[in-house]
């Protein structure tokens, strides 16, 4: 079936300082087509749709909407031309009611009473019941998304952009959403659907454009491809197998059994029965798409989230109910992902930051007083060993670039001589050379007999450093498998393929 063309994107390039978000991206969408934009995190999907919605302007390239040049300078213009967008986050006002939220997203909203009636009518028509007078703050995640969708539908869009719409939905809600989207598509509304959930895309989308590192690497018809094939396209096949010394594994240093914790993060993913062990000298790599429980796993391991004592064991000693300081004493250090605010206190100096996590293990206190000379020595050691580019140890952490701060923070944890090291996103935002040196020191620590857990969304990195490999999927961890001999096919399936079955299980 050939459809008349609605939107054509040609040669779009957008660069931010230090990173090219999109490079020469081209694709087209027909009227009533459900088109998937597929890619890993950071592949440039969100930047692309922000350009279509007028939030970001491309550096070069052209877009045409129904044959006419399309250069929206602001979202209002995009909306006027029939392009609507449902955001993943950040576009609802909790203290306002549904009707007010809808009105804010419209160009010329009718009077409130009329609007409320229309919201009721449209929400019934598309099977998304919604009460216009309720406060958005009281709604569930799925209901909030309905508000966004209805806000778009009231403006009669020709193209509806959906940015990872199912990331916060329950399986039942996903079914309802898909029914609505199919209905829209049959009425002639094109949908640009962003996701990295392969099975969803196979069941919903007509065409798919696959992005990797800002470039279009393939276009395909999802129904004709397997999830495995698309996963390969998404992550790229050219993965070099790194050289790694094989050391004999020691005894188990970190044991986690049937760890389930509620997520403290709004819209977070709770951990469900996570079990694994890491031996001395072993690196366990944990992959997974962002938001599948990585942050929660780090919190549960670092001690910020507590569980029953025997759920987490360091060198056989139960620490599940201990806080971070006691776990550090027991020999477990952890480095969270968020550098500014979680891993480091941004406005404190590097010396002070060095003390904050290393004080316990490096014995930097004397009779309750901070040993500033010793702390400074330690900070200087980190700076020298990890090539941190800074005028000195007394500058505020905030003043360092992300990559440099990351090197400092990695050094701080890796140089404490801990038996168990847990790191979330060790090389996020770090340039290639520094990333290589961080990975090397992770391997060195393992070589010295530490058990290391590396949580990352960078598959290449995990394959390079880890001895065993597992995937976090919706808060569940797959059984760790030896990295050696693992193929991209298998990884792709571990990451996305098995989803459907597990979810169906979980519903019943």
């Amino acid at each position: 079936m050939t459809r008349p063309e609605l939107l054509r994107v040609e040669g779009i390039t957008k660069a931010y300082p230090g990173v090219v978000a999109n490079s020469d991206v081209s694709f087209s969408i027909g009227e009533g087509e459900i088109h998937a934009l597929l890619g890993e995190n950071g592949a440039g999907k969100s930047t692309m749709v922000k350009m279509i919605y007028g939030l970001v302007r491309p550096d070069s390239g052209t877009m045409t909407l129904r044959g006419a040049a399309y250069t929206p300078s602001k979202p209002a213009e995009a909306r006027r031309l029939g392009v609507a967008m449902v955001f993943q986050h950040f576009s609802l006002f909790e203290a306002l009611n549904v009707a007010e939220n809808v009105a804010l997203g419209m160009e010329n909203p009718p009077p409130m009473r009329e609007l409320a009636a229309r919201i009721r009518a449209v929400s019934e028509e598309y099977g998304l019941p919604l009460d216009p007078s309720r406060m958005v703050g009281d709604l569930s995640a799925g209901e909030r998304q309905r508000v966004e969708i209805i806000r778009c539908l009231l403006q009669d869009p020709k193209l509806l952009i959906m940015d990872e719409p199912t990331s916060v939905l329950t399986p039942q809600e996903v079914e309802i959403l898909f029914r609505t989207l199919r209905q829209l598509s049959s009425e002639g509304t094109a949908i640009l659907y962003i996701s990295h959930k392969l099975e969803e895309i196979r069941s919903l989308c007509d065409e798919a454009t696959i992005l990797r590192r800002g470039k279009v690497v393939a276009t395909c018809t999802p129904r004709e491809r397997t999830a495995r094939e698309m996963a390969e396209l998404m992550v790229g096949q050219a993965l070099k197998t790194p050289e790694r010394r094989m050391g004999a594994k020691g005894e188990v240093a970190l044991g986690v059994s049937d760890l389930s914790v509620e997520s403290p993060i709004p819209f977070g993913t709770s951990l469900k029965g996570v079990s694994f062990t890491v031996a001395r000298g072993e690196v366990l790599g944990i992959a997974g798409v962002a938001g599948n429980g990585q942050d929660e796993l780090l919190l549960a391991l670092s001690g910020e989230l507590k569980a029953a004592p025997d759920k987490v064991r360091v060198a056989g000693q139960p620490v599940g109910d201990r806080g971070p300081v006691e776990r550090r004493k027991a020999g477990l250090v952890a480095a969270p992902e968020d550098r500014y605010g979680h891993a480091a206190a941004p406005d404190m100096s590097l010396v002070e930051n060095a003390f904050l996590t290393a004080g316990v293990r490096k014995g930097l206190t004397q009779n309750g007083f901070v040993d500033w000379a010793g702390t400074r020595r330690f900070a200087e050691e980190i700076i020298a060993a990890y090539d941190v580019r800074t005028p000195g140890p007394d500058v505020a952490a905030r003043a360092l670039s992300g990559g440099n701060l990351q090197k400092f923070l990695m050094g701080r944890e890796l140089m404490q001589g801990a038996q168990v090291i847990v790191i979330n996103q060790p090389t996020w935002g770090v340039d290639a050379a520094a990333a290589a040196s961080i990975r090397q020191s992770i391997l060195d620590r393992a070589g010295e007999g530490a058990a290391v857990v590396v949580i990352s969304q960078d598959l290449d990195e995990l394959l390079e450093v880890s001895d065993s490999f597992a995937v976090l999927n919706e808060g569940r961890l797959t059984r760790p498998r030896p990295t050696e001999g693992l193929t991209m096919d298998e990884i792709g399936l571990m990451m996305g393929g098995a989803h459907g079955m597990e979810v169906a299980h979980h519903v019943a």
Binding site: L55, F93, A95, L96, E100, L104, M112
Partner: protein
């Protein structure tokens, strides 16, 4: 009709006038805070407006021009705050405090030479015949135009914030600047306009002190009215009509305690003087307690920088 030497009709009539400076300033700050900006410089903007309005009125001979001048001065001073917090992303609390100190100092300097001068009087709006009516005369008809203006502004702001698109956008910006930005609203520009409006209202409130209440120029003439206005905004849960109640309560008790002092009450003067502050806060706390949400704008006091 006298109660212990105090005539309730006169009392009500006086409190309506005495509440005007606080009411105007608090209404302006309500809009500013609803847009998510905490401007603690109300006192500074008021006194700057008090001096500016006084100077304009004295030189032009027109009290109306004086009030406009006061509003313009307040708005100008608030633009310093706006530039620092919205453009340079300075901390709002520190900047607001600095603005107060700056306003107090500048007005003290600029007011040299204006001591002891009488400004042109602001007359009553209605003719003598209406003003002389019993009871309703002084209360309903016995005021200058600014009193009516302040009540009208309460109604207008209530309506604007509740029912108009402009009000909805202001509330949206104060609730979640990120969401507002994602929908394409110019967060910092909207906030800038709200800050300027708040400055104008505070300046006009200040001008009412120096042109109608006192009326002359004295150093430190606003005497903390700006701080009370700030407190009233919070305890009134950012709602215009409650702001009016709070301002009238404060004005009323201020007038009452002065009258009690004059009437030679047995209560020591110190207690009488602190009563307005104490009772106003107490009543508003009771009013705002017991509801689950405080009603504070969620993004209050947070700067916004469009990074994406």
């Amino acid at each position: 009709m006298d109660l212990g030497g105090i005539n309730p009709v006169i009392l009500i009539a006086t409190l309506m006038a005495s509440a005007v400076p606080i009411l105007l300033a608090a209404l302006g700050e309500t809009v500013v805070e609803r847009a998510g900006v905490l401007n603690l410089g109300v006192e500074g903007m008021m006194i700057f407006g008090a001096l500016g309005g006084f100077i304009v009125a004295v030189h032009s001979g027109s009290p109306v021009l004086g009030f406009i001048g006061g509003a313009v001065c307040g708005a100008l001073l608030s633009l310093i705050f706006a530039a620092l917090t919205q453009v340079f992303l300075a901390n709002q609390v520190a900047t607001g405090l600095a603005l107060t100190l700056f306003g107090l100092g500048v007005s003290s300097l600029g007011g040299q030479g204006y001591n002891g001068i009488k400004p042109p009087p602001t007359g009553k709006l209605f003719p003598q015949a209406l003003t002389d009516l019993p009871v309703v005369g002084p209360i309903v008809f016995g005021h200058d135009w600014v009193v009516y203006f302040s009540i009208a502004m309460t109604a207008v702001l209530w309506w604007v914030l509740k029912s108009t698109r402009v009000g909805l956008i202001i509330r949206a910006v104060g609730e979640s600047h990120e969401a507002a930005h994602a929908l394409g609203y110019k967060v910092n520009r909207i906030r800038l306009a709200c800050i300027a409006f708040g400055g104008a209202m505070a300046g006009m409130g200040g001008a009412y002190v120096s042109l109608a209440r006192v009326p002359q120029w004295v150093d430190g003439i606003t005497a903390g009215a700006g701080w009370i206005a700030l407190a009233i905004v919070v305890f009134a849960s950012w709602k215009p009509w409650r702001v009016l109640i709070g301002a009238y309560l404060f004005g009323g008790i201020t007038v009452l305690q002065l009258n009690l002092q004059v009437a030679g009450s047995a209560i020591p003067v110190e207690y009488l003087s602190m009563a307005p502050y104490l009772i106003t806060i107490l009543v508003l706390v009771i009013m705002s307690a017991g509801r689950k949400a405080s009603g504070a704008p969620a993004a209050l006091g947070q700067n916004f920088h469009a990074s994406r």
